[in-house]
Amino acid sequence: MRRPPQLVRIFGVPALIAALSLFGLIAALIGDGPWDAAGWLGVFAPFAALVWTSQRRG
C-alpha cells in the first residue's frame, strides 16, 4: 500500500538528481576552476540519468 518505501522507490532517483543539480548550481557559484568542474558534473546529473535509463531500456 502507501508505505514510505514506495515513496522512496518513486522519488529516490529524482531526489538524488535534484540534490546533485542544486549542488552543481551552487558549486559553480562559489568559485572557479575545480568548483566550476564540480558544478558541471552536478548540473549534468539529469543527462546522466537519461543516458542511464535509456541504456536500461535497451
Binding site: R2, Q6, L7, I10, F11, G12, V13, P14, I17, A18, A19, S21, L22, L25, A28, L29, I30, G31, D32, D36, G39, W40, V43, F44, A45, P46, F47, A49, L50, W52, T53, S54, R56, R57
Partner: protein, 379 residues
C-alpha cells in the same frame, strides 16, 4: 497519502497553472536560448574585433572622457558612466535632464586611448530585441511583472507536476517509457521523465527569473528608503552647480572599497543617486559577488567621500538571483548545460501541450482514458 480526489485536484492545479503560462514559457525558453550565449554572440558580431586606437598607450582620465561625451551631445547632462571589464572603453549615458526617462537617454562608448567613439555593434540590435522581448515584451514594468506572475504560475505547475507524477509511477520503475501501446502514452512517460529530472534546475531558473522581474520595485524600495534618508539633510538647498571631478570621485571611492571592481557612476539627480551625491558603484570579483553591488557616496560639489553604504538584503537577493538565472557564471560548459536544459524544458512544455490537446480527442472518440482518470485509477 493521496486519495483519488486529491489526485484529481492536484491534476486540475497542474493543468490550469500550466495552461496559463505555457505560451509565455515557450517564448521565454526560445528567447532565453540565444541570451545564454549573448557574450559569445557579441564577440562574433565584432565586439572582439574592435581594437583601441593606441593599444598600451596612456589612458584619458574620466573627466576628459566625460568632456568628449558632453561635447558630442550639446545641452545634455551626464546620467551614468560605466566601464568595460575587458577593454579600455568607457560608456557614457546622457539625457536632456538628470531625471530623463529611458527612451530619452543617449548611450555612447568611448575609447580611453583616443577619446574616439566606439561604433555600436552591427547586428547588436537583434540581441537587444530578444532581450527586451524576454524581459518585458516591450511593455515596460507591467510587462515585467506580468512575466513574473507567469513565472509563479510555472512554479506552481512544477510543484503540482511533481505531485501528479506520484500516481503515474506507482507501478513503473524510474525512467520507464512505454513505447508499445500508443504515442500518447509514450509522450506522457517522456513528459513525466523529462519533467522530473529537471525539477531542481527549472525551479531555480524560474524563481530567480521571478525575482528579476521585481528589479524595478526592489530598486525603487532601496531609493525610497536608503537614498531618501541620505538626501533628507540637503532638502531645500539649491541644486549642485559645479560638478566635482569624476576621476577624483572614482579614486576616492576606490580607496574606500579596495579589491572591488568599478562598475558604474551615477550622476546627481538621476535614478541611482541623490541631488547632492555622485554614487560610485563597485561589484565583487567572484561568481558569487559579481552581481552584488556596493556604492560609495561622494559629495557632488566638494568631491569628499561621504561614506560607503551596504545594499539592503533585498537588493543583495536580486544580485544573487541574477547569475542563477543567466547561467553565465561557470564558463562555456555551464552555458551549454543551461542551453540543453532549456531544450529539455521546451520538450516538457511541448509534450504537455500535446497531451492536453489530445486529451479532448481521447475523451470523446478513442478509447484512451483521460489522464486524471488514469492517474486516479492507479491510486
Amino acid at each position: 497519502m493521496l486519495t483519488q480526489k486529491t489526485v484529481r485536484v492536484w491534476f486540475l492545479v497542474h493543468k490550469w497553472t500550466s495552461l496559463v503560462c505555457t505560451a509565455f514559457l515557450l517564448m521565454l525558453c526560445l528567447t532565453g536560448l540565444p541570451l545564454i550565449f549573448s557574450h559569445e554572440i557579441d564577440d562574433a558580431l565584432g565586439h572582439d574585433a574592435w581594437k583601441p586606437a593606441n593599444p598600451g598607450g596612456p589612458l584619458l582620465d574620466y573627466d576628459a572622457v566625460l568632456q568628449r561625451a558632453l561635447a558630442n551631445r550639446p545641452g545634455e547632462v551626464p546620467l551614468f558612466m560605466s566601464f568595460d571589464d575587458d577593454r579600455p572603453v568607457v560608456n557614457v549615458t546622457t539625457g536632456p535632464r538628470p531625471d530623463s526617462p529611458g527612451p530619452e537617454m543617449h548611450f555612447a562608448s568611448f575609447d580611453r586611448t583616443s577619446g574616439e567613439i566606439v561604433p555600436p555593434l552591427q547586428g547588436g540590435g537583434v540581441m537587444e530585441f530578444i532581450l527586451q522581448l524576454h524581459t518585458d515584451m516591450f511593455l515596460g514594468l507591467p510587462g515585467m511583472l506580468f512575466l513574473g506572475a507567469m513565472g509563479l504560475s510555472f512554479a506552481a505547475s512544477i510543484v503540482s507536476g511533481v505531485v501528479v507524477y506520484t500516481p503515474f509511477m506507482r507501478k513503473l520503475p524510474f525512467g520507464s517509457i512505454r513505447t508499445t501501446r500508443s504515442s500518447r502514452l509514450r509522450w506522457l512517460d517522456t513528459h513525466n521523465l523529462l519533467g522530473i529530472i529537471t525539477v531542481a534546475w527549472v525551479l531555480v531558473v524560474g524563481l530567480t527569473g521571478v525575482v528579476n522581474t521585481l528589479s524595478t520595485p526592489i530598486i525603487d524600495t532601496w531609493k525610497a528608503r536608503q537614498l531618501a534618508e541620505l538626501t533628507r539633510p540637503y532638502e531645500g538647498r539649491p541644486a549642485v552647480t559645479s560638478l566635482t571631478s569624476v576621476q577624483g570621485a572614482v579614486d576616492k571611492a576606490r580607496e574606500a572599497l579596495p579589491g572591488m571592481t568599478l562598475q558604474f557612476v551615477a550622476f546627481p539627480g538621476g535614478s541611482y543617486s541623490t541631488e547632492r551625491h555622485l554614487l560610485v558603484f563597485f561589484h565583487g570579483d567572484t561568481p558569487l559577488t559579481k552581481h552584488l553591488i556596493t556604492p560609495a557616496l561622494i559629495d557632488a560639489e566638494t568631491g569628499a567621500l561621504v561614506g560607503v553604504r551596504q545594499m539592503p538584503w533585498y537588493v543583495k537577493a536580486l544580485g544573487l538571483s541574477q547569475p542563477l538565472h543567466f547561467g553565465d557564471y561557470g564558463g562555456l560548459p555551464l552555458k551549454l548545460l543551461w542551453a540543453a536544459l532549456t531544450v529539455v524544458t521546451l520538450v516538457v512544455l511541448g509534450s504537455g501541450l500535446y497531451l492536453w490537446l489530445g486529451r479532448r480527442r481521447a475523451t470523446t472518440t478513442s478509447g484512451t482514458e483521460p489522464l486524471d482518470a488514469l492517474a486516479a485509477a492507479a491510486e
